[in-house]
Symmetry: C2
Subunit: 390 residues, 2 copies
């Protein structure tokens, strides 16, 4: 049920002292091959953390054998020293793996690095590097779940996934209760597969999967400096799926992790699906869904169990999507409270007492649909993000 479920992978999670409290905070995921293809998707934020700048370069070559991850510090906005620290972490990881009884003959260029935690502070390298050494020693074919635990920040549960096909599979781990947002969140995701697949096939599969999953969850509209999604293929199953089959399995794994992420978003009391129907284009559907998902007045209304459809229409009105104000329908949990841009069914019929909320916005402009998943804006969100520096 995790990143080590596909054949050819080992993983580990150890406590290096980066997090106060002694929780696991350094993780490794190692691809033992025979293949070592990789694809990656990174934050669209123009302020990118050092490990993102590093991993983007490493992934460009199409080959990665190891991902080293840490929580307890994002290594973002840390200048040239931050980048040197990332480089040193990759070097140290490669050296430690070369030094084992079953050595991996790799260099720093085979190691992707991911970090998460507070922005603007240098990592405590005197703790991190010994942690990496310990993580190398702890590598195990059943270590995926400990790796998932080691990358948690404000997550309340570790996130794992395993999608099984005929003699091959896709596994994954994720963290990300923080700034879930557009074009990825503070989201670290490592996906593994034992399928036979080269970097190009992996890239096609990963981009399609993230477009339909991680790009459609949006907890608070804030975009992280560290978002990274990596997909590694070991080829250990000897099965080469078609591109379609690979893309479908990766998408299924990402969709599952995305649901886990949004369900565990900071302070959420509601899980909200915004289904945009009848849009003229997919881009319109996504824009409308995301705009409604980010509207603080919509989010606070839902926290208060108030089916305030007027705020939804006001949010739609700020988009560039094709629509006519007098043709929009809005449904909340199945009650069409607005038809043709005006009040329809009695809003008091809407039952918002449960955790799950479905909002339907029908634009009547075309055939395209998209669903954006988000959360409400609660006292707990304000508390978590005002009381703790993250």
């Amino acid at each position: 049920m995790t990143v080590t479920a596909p054949k050819g992978f080992r993983a580990s999670g150890v406590a290096a002292g980066l997090k106060a409290g002694g929780n696991l905070d350094v993780a490794l995921v190692v691809n033992d091959g025979p293949d070592a293809g990789v694809a990656g998707v990174f934050t669209a934020n123009r302020v990118k953390a050092a490990p993102v700048l590093w991993s983007q370069q490493v992934v460009k070559g199409g080959v990665v054998r190891v991902v080293v991850l840490n929580s307890g510090g994002a290594n973002a906005c840390t200048g040239s020293q931050g980048f040197r620290d990332t480089h040193a972490t990759a070097e140290h990881t490669a050296a430690a793996l070369r030094g084992r009884a079953k050595p991996l003959l790799i260099g720093a260029g085979d190691v992707a690095v991911c970090s998460t935690g507070l922005i603007g502070e240098l990592l405590p390298m005197d703790k991190l590097l010994p942690g990496v050494t310990a993580a190398v020693k702890a590598l195990d074919a059943s270590g995926g779940e400990r790796a998932a635990e080691a990358i948690m920040t404000t997550d309340t549960v570790a996130k794992n996934v395993h999608v099984v096909r005929d003699r091959w599979s896709v596994g994954g781990i994720a963290k990300g209760a923080g700034m879930l947002a557009p074009a990825l969140a503070t989201m670290l995701v490592v996906l593994t597969t034992d399928a036979v697949a080269g970097p190009e096939a992996l890239d096609v599969a990963l981009r399609e999967a993230t477009r339909l999953t991680f790009d459609r969850i949006d907890a608070d509209g804030c975009m992280s400096t560290n978002d990274t999604v990596l997909l590694m293929a070991s080829g250990a199953s000897d099965v080469q799926p078609t591109q379609e089959e690979l893309t479908a399995a990766v998408t299924e794994a990402c969709a599952d992790l995305a649901r886990q992420l949004i369900t565990d978003a900071e302070g959420a009391t509601k899980h909200i699906a915004i289904e945009v129907l009848g849009a003229a284009s997919e881009a319109d559907a996504v824009e409308v869904g995301r705009t409604v998902a980010r509207n603080n007045l919509v989010k606070t209304a839902l926290f208060g169990n108030d089916p305030n459809w007027g705020r939804i229409l006001a949010a739609v009105g700020t988009t560039t999507a094709a629509f006519a104000p007098d043709r929009i329908d809005v449904g909340i949990n199945g009650v069409w409270v607005c038809r043709g841009g005006a009040a329809a069914e009695d809003r008091s019929k809407v039952d918002l007492s449960g955790r799950d909320v479905t909002i339907q916005v029908h634009l009547h402009e075309g055939e395209m649909d998209a669903t954006i998943r988000t959360t409400d804006l609660s006292h707990a969100y304000v508390h978590e993000n005002s009381a703790y520096s993250t």
Copy 2:
């Protein structure tokens, strides 16, 4: 100190029963001339309330004698009946003014209409129209402050302004604690001047003034369906200021009202000025300031007295403005916690205990500056917007 301070204007505010509790809820501002020039700026939201659609048409002609305003209902998302109600309100206002001992010989086309309150419900016309009749009877040369009171919704104080020049002046009233946002808020503003000024001069002055004032406050990033800013000139002073003088006075009045609006924004515990310095263009400066102002993680951090400059940089990174991540400086209340994109002065030196917060973001890309004013994201904001349907 209000809309009736300039010569040639009368105003009133009455309780028509639209608001629960018997507070004033219908207001009139009448221009007795001799001139009747007008300019208007309206919400950029594509979902526009019926009174906005009406008033846009009326203002296009360049002449307006009366503004009738109500709180207790936005008349937005109310379909064709909503528009008929706005039309009927304008007709009723004109007829009531024609029927007075000192009649104003006007038609509905001389009457602008503004509404504010809950979206999606029809106005109770059986209360509104008698309210208009009463408001016509109550018109008085010192009625401006009652008009300001009658347009309050969740505002805690009425907003008035008076900017005095040599023998002429600009007065104004405003409401707007709600969805303060881009290109205006749920903001109703009526400005009056006894200067001699035609519709074109008024339009130039009003557009410049709103660009530099109302367009640069942003409480929660949500854009209203009803925003309206109107400027009427009576010419009663017989003084014709230059365009520059007129623009400067109108801008001063708008800046004062904008400060009053953001100070009274829902749930605010901090008044935050985001000064963007060294931008390549004014548009870049405004984009960066607005993006930081809307970032929920920045806003919650400031509510929690946390000088979390990393979140500010992460917000800047989502803009399209010209900047290099390793050249940005960030100051919080005078402490430059970030220089060249990395930690600089000790963040513990930042004192956030007061209500006023100044954030400086220096891009080092050019000579353009802009200041965006916003508020924090507090428990009180969540409470006000989840507990009450507005």
